[in-house]
């Protein structure tokens, strides 16, 4: 569906199509479907050292896994954590789906989902995801990634972006309240989240939800911090809301509390010209 301004929204109907599958499906249809499914598979590409480790049946030792989903969350980590140069790139995940651009080439695809590991403390890992992971790929992404990690003593922190328009509340949301943080955690998470818990009837979807689902059934201590922002595209104020979430992990991760403004400007600038709404 397109709105008045031409943005394309994915709108779900509550009506459900009757699934009238033809039992005698065309062979060709079947083949096309199979090929599509193969193409949509999530691939993890690790550095030679990690590949070797995984090949020998071992898993990546990991105690702290920080996953950033969305531009604000990912750029928050880029600006406040990854600038310290104490991080090795471990690998990346590649995902192809209907929103992947055909021509943009390998480089953008590779940078859309990257894994990093702390040089001095190799049990601390970071993953930044800025690409769209389709509904049918979320489960697979989560299974594949967590299959590479050691589960013992693993604790997961997910930082995620969301629009304040998706936040449901009976009260009037005054404009000064956004951006704000809400948390949701699995049963085995024993700490105290740094912000208010996500109120009913709000829900979390997408990759953070897939990770929560996986960690709930696998009993991995996990907390999701969702930032509700009223700005389209990355902005420094929304990024800062994630700060308290990482101060809890101060033992393993040093936060660069006063980042270089040039870096910050560069991060925010990239999306400046994308909207033609107010030319």
């Amino acid at each position: 569906m397109a709105t008045f301004f031409g943005e394309v929204l994915s709108v779900y109907s509550r009506a459900v199509e009757e699934d009238d599958e033809d039992p005698e499906q065309d062979e060709e249809d079947e083949q096309i479907r199979r090929e599509l499914e193969e193409k949509r598979e999530v691939h993890l590409r690790w550095s030679p050292e990690v590949s070797e480790l995984l090949k020998s049946g071992n898993k990546l030792p990991c105690r702290e896994f920080i996953l950033a989903v969305g531009h604000n969350a990912a750029k928050f980590l880029s600006v406040y954590v990854l600038t310290s140069a104490n991080w090795d790139t471990l690998g990346h995940a590649s995902v192809w789906n209907e929103r992947s651009r055909a021509v943009t080439g390998q480089s953008s695809e590779e940078s859309a989902c990257v894994f990093y590991r702390h040089k001095e403390n190799p049990t601390v890992m970071i993953c930044q995801v800025t690409c769209y992971v389709a509904e049918d790929q979320l489960f697979q992404w989560t299974e594949k990634v967590f299959d590479c990690l050691q589960h013992r003593e693993l604790s997961v922190t997910v930082l995620s972006d969301s629009s304040v328009a998706d936040y449901k509340t009976a009260d009037y949301l005054c404009t000064s309240s956004a951006p704000f943080l809400r948390s949701l955690h699995t049963g085995t998470f024993s700490g105290q989240p740094v912000c208010q818990s996500l109120e009913q009837p709000n829900i979390i979807t997408g990759l953070p939800a897939a990770v929560l689902n996986h960690c709930q059934v696998q009993r991995i201590a996990t907390v999701v911090y969702q930032c509700y922002s009223d700005v389209i595209g990355p902005d420094s104020v929304s990024m800062e809301t994630f700060k308290p979430a990482l101060t809890k992990l101060a033992k393993s991760i040093q936060l660069n509390s006063s980042p270089n403004t040039d870096i910050l400007r560069k991060m925010v600038k990239t999306t400046d010209i994308q909207s033609n709404l107010y030319i």
Partner: protein, 256 residues
């Protein structure tokens, strides 16, 4: 895959399973929410599968501050052991290409758990009814031969109406066109029913014709109708008392 929430898997042998089909107006899901909250059922496990779109939220059935912060997932199993009742709640849509796989997963889980019977709560587009379906009550049932062996009399006594088969080509008199079962807007209802027929599972579908909108009254109608058969509650659930329970699950998971 069923994953118990405790270390010891629950015994569901001979339990009655009630589950929704994600269908028009989410009536089945609302009805299941109503059952879980009214009977104060406790969660015993999850169905963890790639067939459902991931979602997570805090406790939809929270009654006090203490139990509010409890993570809930797209598909969970609840039980009321004293009633020998198990309920599967599904809170998310099925991934489009995986509905067949999901049906297979449900059928094999039903078999493995040893449920004595399964009831699917579902709904169907009211606007696609034919003339005979528009007469009288909007509630219908379907039962597999295996269920009829045990419950044919009970269903007869209730005076329930079976879902009518509709003409394949309305208006045409084709000699060999058999009327067929049609549940428009019913999601996996028909598939699960036909799978259960061929797998010889005792399964019933209880459905309601409705339109999208505020479907809470439909959920009450469906639960009270089901209660006439299963006798889960002494009194019918009342609209005003239980209203709060529907605030979360299905209503807000419609992704619309």
């Amino acid at each position: 895959m069923f994953v118990p929430s405790d270390n010891s898997p629950p015994s569901l042998e001979d339990f009655t399973l009630v589950m929704p089909a994600v269908a028009v107006g989410n009536v089945g899901q609302l009805a299941v929410d109503l059952i879980v909250s009214t009977l104060n059922m406790s969660r015993v496990g999850f169905i963890h599968t790639d067939c459902l779109i991931p979602m997570a939220g805090n406790n939809p059935y929270s009654t006090c501050k203490e139990d509010a912060q409890e993570l809930h997932t797209p598909a969970e199993v609840y039980v009321a052991p004293e009633l020998k009742l198990a309920v599967l709640q599904i809170r998310a849509p099925i991934v489009q290409t995986k509905s067949k796989k999901f049906r297979q997963l449900i059928v094999s889980w039903i078999k493995a758990s040893g449920f004595s019977r399964t009831v699917i709560l579902s709904s169907s587009h009211a606007y696609q009814r034919d003339d005979q379906q528009m007469k009288g009550t909007p509630l219908r049932y379907l039962a597999t031969p295996s269920l009829l062996k045990a419950s044919a009399n009970a269903l007869k006594e209730l005076g329930w109406r079976e879902m009518e088969r509709v003409a394949s080509f309305p208006g045409l008199t084709e000699a060999n066109a058999e009327p067929r079962l049609c549940i428009p807007g019913g999601g996996i209802t028909k598939g699960l029913y036909t799978d259960s027929c061929s797998e010889d599972l005792p399964l019933a579908v209880v459905l309601l014709f409705c339109s999208e909108g505020d479907n809470i009254p439909d959920a009450f109608a469906l639960v009270n109708h089901l209660n006439d058969w299963l006798h889960l509650l002494d009194d019918p659930v009342s609209d005003t008392l239980q209203f709060y329970c529907c605030s979360f699950t299905s209503r807000d998971l419609k992704f619309d």
